[in-house]
Symmetry: D2
């Protein structure tokens, strides 16, 4: 029943300068609000809607930048892995490896991630029931690594739409592993813009409040200095300058939910 | 941004004595917690899963009992109507007429309910998008009656399952009408027990917390002294003796959500 | 394993002349293709998306016209009922009473319809699992009337969308009652046009073929001389002049599905 | 409008002997019924529900056996790939590489598969709308390889359930690529047995008939001499000795659907 941790950062590592700017703002937010922040950003967008969409800066360059975020700002860092071979090198740099939702049942990836000994944040597949995440967790735990986080990010609800079932938070918590709520991907509209995914940013704070009132260990919020011009996930990311007010508000719901 | 109102009571009017017992407990809860309570109970269950299931006490007898609840305890009362002809007599007794979810697009019923001049609580159909409730409200408003409440009670999600989309609360609030969250029907499993509906009572408080954190004007919670032996909706009703603790908890989330 | 029956006609009884024109075309189609046709049309659209949408010609006038269809063309006629009180008068004129999908669990309506002794076509609610239709049928059968038809017309699939689950046909057939597939309402997009329902007419023949290949006793297809100018259900009705070619094609699939 | 091709075989390559037995039966079926058969079997089940479930025989051994099927029986062979590195070696042996549904948006895998120049059968993700498969196909086509097959295998419908939307076949066909219907995975109940997926075998022929009546280029049916004792997908595979009767029946619907 510790206060919630914030996992935040822009969808992609756009450049060293961009990353350090955002990380600086989030480090200050962490100090000012007294909240643990894990810096999140991706070096590769491996499953964009369209092949012509921006992929990212690459693993080597991306890890160097994330490592600098850690050194300069003292923030733990999180990034996602897409195949088993990436887990080793990524695990040497980051504090948390993230398994993308589409890949949450890929046994080799889960085992390789687990074998790094680092914390693993697994997104629940949009096609998966919350009670089935115990099987996913068991794959990772079979490596002896119990540092597992289970993350709700929406369930398929008809075409091009996700719905957030708040019951999934207590159901996944029954595994004993901390539960994360991903507020910005939950408001995605997959494929909703023809050759890219749409989203409704305005509902991310709504769902984050609901999740914290229900109770969760961490909230995942992608943010960006200029979301409308971001190379990916723009329609659902939160403008960076709104993060302090939002997180402050969320802290109230978290404290209340965890009060005796 | 007034504090939320509680709509509560047992699914059915089982008898005069049973009703007065529950209403007495809820009247005390209202005073002790300083919360407005609307007493809810049905005189007829018009759409049970099975024809052999208990239907209820009937309109004449039911209205007499609800009227007594009002007189004795000073609680406003709510009951549901199933056809246009019931609206007149029901409207003479109750403070709020409720339109069942399956019937939320039946024009004649909506018009007859509106014509009573009483407040109307319309449940959103399990088959309806939240943005389509503006058309439902417009049918009622066409009678000149603007005392409309829009109520979320779950959306169809595969077979025998409902999901509560918390985005529907702000979407329906855009109409300008107060939004109600029905916590106990939202956890129903329609038809899930073969010849009756199942439900998961333990998720009703979870969803109610989420809804109040998101923001709503009223919460609807069916409760019963002995839910496991109730003639209908037993699997999802809240035991009456747990209501005070639950509502107290919910008041915290409501106050926080409505704080400036 | 008799050849399938066609239930067809325009959504609404627009006028005597309009009805007789369509019925004449369908009577000729019946003779030319050697297929049983039940003429379908509604005297009241009781649950339009919007209150300002056209409601229909009314019960008295509508029944007079349907009666004339029967007398002049020898076609059995079907129309839908919306409350218990309508069942008596409607049952005196039509061959088949239809229960709308939203109303498929309203006990009083089902009992009143059953009591007419006429055949009853019950649409499966968009919110109902196919295995739950046995409870609906049992309500009607409790009146001693076993002339029951169970009709698939799509299940809720996210917002403003229906999906046709072809497994529902054999599941409902396990009741022993004939199963109808409603091809034109299954392609509706409920509320999809803001203040009216949309639809994708081009998929109605696709789904009808699928349903007949799976096996069903009747197919329901709304048709109209000029669907794009029809007062209701225009986006999904089939142009009348395409019906002969379509039904001929469907007869092939039906014969094949029922071949030993 | 050529007759449909049958893609068939057991879920896993269990052993050389087992594979040759099944392939022999399917080769005879191909000759007797005059139908093109592509032999399907997997060397690795990379995303089982549980980590302790049988994974398969491995790539090297599996490809040797598939190669022998080709040589001995003259059947083209298909197997699935799970990461980009597998595409090269697999592409040297098989005629068709298959992309699993969960992986259908993994750009690197699609590009590596495309680069083999072999035909690619991409399963549509359970989380994807049919109109979004054009983006998936475009990723493969960007390699210059246009030998693309798009495969429907069910869409998420609530938890632990899939639904087959027959409209997806014509929608995907609008891309110009041949469309495959996977009849046995479409009846899976993902995770439905706690630590493995359930399924309802009896509906596979039902859905296959529907798909052929609608129109498709190939049908995918997993089959096994003893499904109830198979190491994976047992609940939905068709017993091998029922395949001839089933395929014969399906040929009728195919011929009728493709008749002028």
């Amino acid at each position: 029943d510790l206060p919630f941790t914030l996992i935040a950062g822009p969808c992609q590592i756009e450049s060293r300068a961009h990353t350090m700017e955002v990380a600086g703002v989030l480090a200050r937010l962490s100090r000012e609000l007294g909240i643990g922040v894990i810096y999140k950003s991706s070096f590769d967008k491996a499953n964009r809607t369209s092949a012509s969409a921006a992929r990212g800066i690459g693993m080597a360059e991306g890890l160097k930048i994330l490592s600098e975020v850690r050194d300069v700002f003292g923030l733990p860092v999180l990034t996602d892995v897409h195949d088993a071979a990436q887990c080793g090198p990524v695990g040497e740099v980051v504090d948390v490896l993230q398994i993308p939702a589409f890949l949450c049942r890929q046994t080799d990836l889960l085992l390789a991630a687990g074998a790094t000994g680092k914390a693993i944040n697994v997104k629940k597949g949009q096609f998966l029931a919350p009670w089935d995440m115990k099987n996913v967790a068991a794959k990772i735990a079979s490596t002896g690594n119990e540092k597992i986080l289970l993350c709700e990010r929406g369930a398929s609800f008809g075409y091009n739409t996700l719905v957030s079932d708040m019951r999934s938070l207590p159901i996944m918590a029954e595994t004993g592993y901390p539960v994360v709520f991903d507020a910005t991907h939950s408001v995605q509209q997959p494929g909703g813009m023809g050759t890219s995914s749409g989203g409704e940013r305005r509902f991310a704070p709504v769902l984050a409040r609901a999740a914290l009132a229900v109770g969760c260990a961490a909230v995942f919020i992608e943010c960006h200095p200029d979301p409308d011009n971001a190379p990916s996930d723009g329609p659902n990311m939160i403008p960076l300058d709104q993060m302090t007010a939002l997180v402050k508000r969320l802290q109230g719901f978290d404290a209340l939910a965890k009060a005796p």
